[in-house]
């Protein structure tokens, strides 16, 4: 014999087990609301952290994009290849206009299997820090030293499966192009193989998705294309480059700062000076990211409100399921009353039942949120290169869990009230 006395909790659990479909559907509804809310809350802060972290130690970004925000999205987060070039002469002019700590030229436009290529100077990998205070680290190999050497970001290396020493061909364009065959993507620069010489450690920034080559290699690729179009065939070297070939799409700038400080007193002045040049746009990446989040925070709030509505409607679902089940359970309630259960105790049992549904749903929702967070993080990492922490904020999770359980208990009040008022004598009459 099961040597345990019957308890109120066992009665509640049996009630839930007696109607499995209703129980699990309501648990699933609560889990959906909780999961959605936690994922949105988690993604909101994680995405903001990831974006803010991703601008690295750049003070200013110069580009020929239509707006500073687009410049940041393209130049730092690889949203698209910048469409408008900046001449090498302009770069030199800007570089010489102020004693920058560094001024790193960048050029985007090519790709490999959908991973964007960043053509740049060696300083990009030695002076620019993708995460402020955290310089690049090599996982394998070395940085590029000669033309047609390529260094892979961690996500690009992992996603492409490339290893040191392998030769690859870049594709013109930044879409999800593939080597050969795809007429809709850009053509493949089959004449110029690049050798993988290094793989970088993950940084948690969008740069992890990129491949890095030196500027001259990129210029040669495109000069070759130009010459082909002009009917000039054959080998090409640095000496064949013209000013029209030496184009870049962005400049990362950092001003001198005091030791231990990231701010520069000259920042605003230089920013204003560069803004006067109408041929370029200049952006303070951190500022643009804040603006971006100010724009999306309304949508963000809407999503969270929708998740909260889902949660409240799931509580209403719990209430309806329990309330309707009371019609079929009046006899059970009446029997318990005859056996000595007080109205208050019956009320407590029904509220406990509702509370259990809420707790089960919230617990399942937390699991859903954890799995969803991992999935969303994986998607953000592969599609945007954003590395976010999929873990849930403990404080937020506890608040959502407590709130859900409280909401469910509240949802149980009306069914409990119905059970409280079950007419005992009438409910015990034999049915036909």
């Amino acid at each position: 014999m099961n040597a345990k006395a019957l308890t109120d909790t066992q009665i509640v659990i049996r009630s839930l087990q007696a109607r499995p479909l209703s129980t699990w559907v309501t648990v699933a509804m609560v889990a959906t609301g909780v999961g959605l809310l936690l994922v949105l809350l988690g993604m909101r802060s994680a995405a903001r952290d990831a974006f803010e972290r991703g601008s690295g130690n750049t003070h200013l970004l110069v580009s020929a994009d239509p707006s500073p925000l687009v410049a940041v999205l393209n130049g730092i987060f690889y949203a698209n290849a910048p469409a408008n070039p900046i001449s090498w002469a302009k770069y030199q002019q800007i570089r010489g206009s102020f004693p920058w700590l560094w001024a790193i030229p960048t050029q985007q436009g090519d790709s490999y299997r959908g991973y964007p290529t960043m053509a740049t100077s060696a300083e990009f990998l030695t002076k620019f820090e993708p995460i402020a205070g955290e310089p690049w680290q090599l996982a394998e190999g070395q940085l590029f030293e000669r033309p047609f050497e390529i260094v892979l970001g961690a996500a690009a290396a992992k996603g492409s499966g490339l290893r040191l020493g392998q030769e690859i061909f870049l594709t013109h364009g930044s879409g999800a192009s593939r080597e050969g065959g795809d007429d809709h993507a850009g053509h493949v620069h089959l004449e110029f193989p690049f050798t993988v010489v290094g793989i970088l450690e993950p940084t948690g920034s969008a740069h992890d998705r990129a491949l890095f080559i030196d500027l001259e290699s990129s210029w040669i690729l495109h000069a070759f294309d130009r010459r082909e179009r002009e009917g000039l065939h054959g080998a090409i070297g640095p000496a064949d480059l013209t000013d029209a070939d030496r184009l870049i799409t962005g400049i990362l700038l950092r001003l001198p700062t005091r030791p231990g400080s990231d701010a520069s007193a000259a920042m605003q002045q230089q920013f204003d000076t560069l803004r006067r040049d109408t041929s370029i746009v200049v952006a303070q990446p951190a500022d643009q990211i804040r603006r971006l989040f100010a724009i999306v925070s309304n949508v963000d709030g809407l999503f969270i409100a929708m998740a909260a509505v889902v949660l409240v409607s799931s509580a209403v679902g719990v209430m309806l399921a329990l309330y309707n089940s009371m019609a079929a359970r009046t006899r059970q309630v009446a029997v318990l009353r005859v056996l000595g259960a007080s109205q208050g105790r019956i009320f407590g049992m029904v509220v406990t039942e509702s509370l259990m549904i809420g707790f089960l749903g919230a617990a399942a929702g937390i699991v859903v949120a954890m799995v969803g967070g991992i999935a969303a993080a994986a998607w953000l990492r592969s599609s945007l290169g954003l590395v976010i922490d999929p873990g849930l904020d403990v404080r937020e999770t506890i608040i959502v869990l407590g709130g859900t359980v409280a909401l469910s208990a509240l949802a149980g009040v009306l069914p409990a009230w119905r059970a409280y008022h079950v007419p005992v004598a009438e409910s015990l009459r034999p049915t036909a």
Binding site: M1, K4, L6, D8, A425, P430
Partner: protein
């Protein structure tokens, strides 16, 4: 001298449906006594039992069960008193479905004063005394006769002074009705509980030394 199991005085009750009125000037059942409350259907037998159990409120009068004035209690106190002093057996048993035989009997203990640790042993002993061996079987899998035995065991679980049996054999054939009544009367006798049984079946009269007709207490409402 032991307290009477049931002592009713000047009880008045009007049925909410206006079908009849109950007026019981005095009714007493001694400890361990067994009585039949006879009368046709709809005459007020079940209503009187529900008044005794404290499931309905009388207009006036008093009902004492084992010395406890049920009519002076209200709410949870009356529920507790009912759980301790009154056992009930129903025509359709009213077992808790989805629960085992033992759990149904323990349900009759969980609102009383017996320590929870003693419930399993008490339930097992009671079920053995009524001939149920499959104490961990869900009641839904038991035969009708076995279900009735579980219902009897549950009614006696809290060692009540009074067992109220409301038409306990109405849905049984004569042979099963006889054996069911044998069981109920024997179990109550062994437990020392008084038994007040209602029935509209005239053949039941011979089983009881005391038979009262509900017609003596009920009259059709003129409204």
């Amino acid at each position: 001298m032991a307290e009477p199991a049931l002592d009713i005085r000047d009880l008045r009750f009007a049925h909410p449906g206006g079908r009849f009125r109950l007026e019981v000037p005095a009714y007493r059942l001694e400890a361990g006594e067994q009585a039949l409350l006879a009368g046709g259907s709809g005459r007020g037998k079940s209503t009187l039992l529900s008044l005794i159990a404290g499931l309905r409120e009388p207009e006036s009068g008093s009902i004492d069960v084992a010395g406890v004035r049920m009519t002076a209690l209200a709410g949870a106190a009356r529920d507790r008193a009912r759980g301790r002093a009154v056992g009930m057996i129903f025509q359709t048993f009213n077992l808790l479905h989805g629960f085992t035989a033992a759990e149904n009997v323990m349900a009759g203990l969980m609102f009383g004063s017996m320590p929870a640790a003693e419930h399993p042993a008490r339930a097992a002993a009671l079920l053995a005394s009524v001939g149920i061996a499959e104490i961990d079987a869900p009641v839904d899998r038991l035969s009708v006769g076995q279900q009735q035995r579980v219902a009897v065991a549950r009614a006696l679980a809290a060692r009540p002074a009074l067992v109220l049996a409301d038409e306990p054999t109405a849905s049984l054939d004569p042979d099963n009705a006889a054996s069911a009544m044998d069981l109920i009367q024997r179990a109550c006798r062994e437990a020392g509980a008084a038994l007040l049984c209602t029935s509209h079946d005239p053949s039941m009269r011979s089983r009881f030394a005391r038979v009262d007709d509900v017609g003596a207490f009920a009259r059709q409402d003129e409204r």
